[in-house]
């Protein structure tokens, strides 16, 4: 509450520089900039901005250090790995991998979770208790183990990672949407729609869904960072994406044994993960505070 008052009534003595500072604090410019620079541009324009092919290396150019170290060159700005592949290019393509996996996984789990949540909240009764029991159970399963077992049995691939992440995430959407639906369905306009002859389906899709979209967007944003972390952890453990893919987690795993001789192979992809997740978390927090204070405890 205190925040809102101070923001709504800027003090009269504010100078120009403090206005800029407040602007920076009020809008998440910094995380947005990192995000665009680290994730969106590399992911969308990977073939244009990457200097080399991420899959093809030259064995003569193995383990070249980054340009500021002795033996480094401006050709490979961040050095090369043990197969002579350019680290920077792999990080850039890695952004594409991370973004694709997280967007698809969140989309799939979001749809499943939202549908179940709306149905559960709208119809209530036995449907509701079955769905909610499922949610409780799914939340009490140990995430990483379930993921490990699933991917161990299905084998490492894009589909596996997306299936694993969707299985883990749907319940959060279901719980959120169900809660909101319970509140919305008591409001007058739902009863009026019913009297006017709208079907259950129509009410759920056209009257309830638009009212939960705000919360859904906030939750989805908050989860992108989590999904990127999860995917890179799985890949690092050898239970995520196939070995040859330029995924950030795999690159860190590749560089693990080289930490004594070639630190750059694992450090740079790690920094990429950190910056991306950090800025996504900041952005998510900001969205939550500004658009959906109800989600405070999420």
């Amino acid at each position: 509450m205190a925040d809102i008052t101070t923001q709504a009534l800027p003090s009269e003595t504010s100078t120009r520089s403090s206005t800029i500072w407040r602007g920076l604090r009020r809008y998440p410019l910094f995380p947005l900039a990192i995000l665009v620079f680290c994730l969106v541009i590399p992911a969308v324009f990977a073939p244009l901005v990457a200097p080399f092919d991420p899959y093809q290396g030259s064995l003569r150019a193995r383990l070249i250090p980054p340009f500021w170290q002795e033996g480094g060159s401006f050709e490979h700005l961040l050095g090369t790995d043990k197969l002579g592949r350019d680290v920077l290019s792999r990080i850039i393509y890695g952004a594409r991998v991370s973004m694709t996996v997280s967007l698809i996984a969140i989309f799939v789990s979001g749809i499943i979770g939202t549908l179940l949540g709306v149905i559960s909240g709208y119809f209530g009764g036995r449907t509701d208790s079955v769905v909610m029991r499922l949610v409780d159970i799914s939340l009490s399963l140990p995430t990483i183990l379930l993921a490990l077992v699933l991917s161990a049995a299905l084998g490492p691939s894009f589909t596996t990672v997306i299936v694993v992440i969707s299985v883990l995430l749907w319940s959060r959407y279901a719980r959120l949407v169900r809660g909101e639906t319970l509140a919305i369905k008591e409001r007058d306009f739902i009863a009026r729609a019913r009297v006017a002859g709208a079907s259950h389906m129509r009410i759920m899709l056209l009257y309830i869904l638009p009212n939960v979209v705000n919360s859904l967007v906030v939750l989805a944003t908050l989860q992108v960072g989590y999904v990127i972390l999860l995917e890179s952890t799985l890949s690092f453990l050898g239970a995520g994406l196939p070995r040859a893919e330029p995924a950030w987690g795999l690159m860190v795993a590749d560089g693990r044994e080289l930490i004594v001789t070639a630190w750059w192979v694992s450090m740079f992809p790690g920094i990429a993960i950190m910056l991306t997740v950090l800025s996504l978390n900041l952005l998510g927090d900001w969205l939550r505070d500004h658009f959906d204070p109800k989600l405070k405890n999420l």
Binding site: L141, L146, L150, A153, L154, T233, V277
Partner: protein
């Protein structure tokens, strides 16, 4: 209260059962389970021996109950990588190393997180608070496996203060424990901060101040004791992240616990060991959740009636 406990216990049992169905099912859906369970170089005799052990000639439902019955007695079969050792024995051998590491991690994170959380609450909206926020944010955003590698690089490779990996004395445990504990620091600290803020506002603190008790004593004795209860109940999430942390951290530091065991087993397609570890891990995790929920309901009656 009894009803609440009964429902929660039932839910936990179902969760364990579901885990067992998943573990059982995954070995079956991907073709002949023996192909998944046996390494490529397995002989015909291995196939026949296992087929008989798991009763593969009978219907799937019977097979599942056979598996469940064996599992309940702690029998997941013999490890395929370390022949002659049962999967459960391996888990028993490796479990102490994991618990040791997890214990130290928890201790370190509590020692670091409590004072920072208190300072952040007392100095709300000051530099302390901002610093605490940064720590919390970094804790959530740094991937665990990379955190371990960075620590290893700085303290073992560049400074040479600590060994890079393996198991030995206390010096082998410091880096892995910090790697695991880091995430908890962020989480515990935020909780201590928010519950301290609530307590600092309450009447008995005002009374203590009015009575002239020195400020440090009011904060560190009167407030912290009351604010400490909330983070304690947070143990379920901590247990979960300790599990995840141990799988990842043991891989990074080659710490011979069950986290490393399960990763090795997955790579070697040693399915009996994978099943044993997953069920044991899941059991511990679900039990922690159950205990905490009951504890919480006991402390906060509102939860029982939801």
């Amino acid at each position: 209260m009894q009803r609440f406990i009964a429902v929660r216990v039932l839910q936990s049992l179902i969760a364990v059962l579901i885990m067992s169905v998943i573990v059982f099912g995954l070995a079956r859906v991907s073709g002949n389970p023996l192909d998944v369970m046996l390494p490529i170089e397995a002989t015909q005799a291995d196939y026949e021996r296992l087929a008989k052990h798991w009763g593969l000639d009978r219907p799937v439902i019977t097979q599942y109950f056979l598996f469940l019955g064996n599992a309940l007695q702690g029998d997941f079969g013999e490890s395929l990588k370390y022949t002659g050792t049962s999967a459960m024995e391996l888990v028993g051998q490796r479990l102490p190393a994991t618990l040791q590491l997890a214990g130290l991690a928890l201790l370190i994170s509590a020692i670091i997180a409590l004072p920072i959380g208190v300072l952040a609450a007392v100095g709300k909206d000051t530099g302390w608070d901002d610093a605490a926020k940064v720590i919390a944010l970094l804790g959530q955003s740094l991937p665990g496996f990379w955190r371990g590698i960075v620590l290893m690089w700085i303290f073992a490779v560049m400074l040479g203060w600590l060994p890079t990996s393996g198991r030995g004395g206390i010096e082998h445990m410091i880096l892995p424990a910090i790697t695991i504990g880091w995430f908890q620091v962020a989480a515990i600290m935020r909780l201590v901060r928010s519950s301290m803020l609530d307590v600092l506002d309450s009447e008995f603190v005002k009374l203590a101040r009015v009575k002239g008790i020195p400020e440090w004593k009011v904060i560190w004795k009167h407030c912290l004791r009351n604010a400490g209860i909330t983070p304690l109940t947070f143990f379920a999430i901590v247990a979960g992240s300790l599990l995840t942390g141990s799988v990842v951290t043991e891989t990074v530091f080659s710490w011979p616990g069950i986290g490393l065991l399960v990763i090795d087993a997955i790579q070697a397609r040693d399915f009996p060991v994978v099943q044993a570890v997953v069920i044991v891990f899941a059991g511990i995790f679900i039990l922690c959740n159950l205990v905490v929920d009951i504890l919480y309901a006991y402390l906060d009656p509102r939860i029982r009636y939801q």
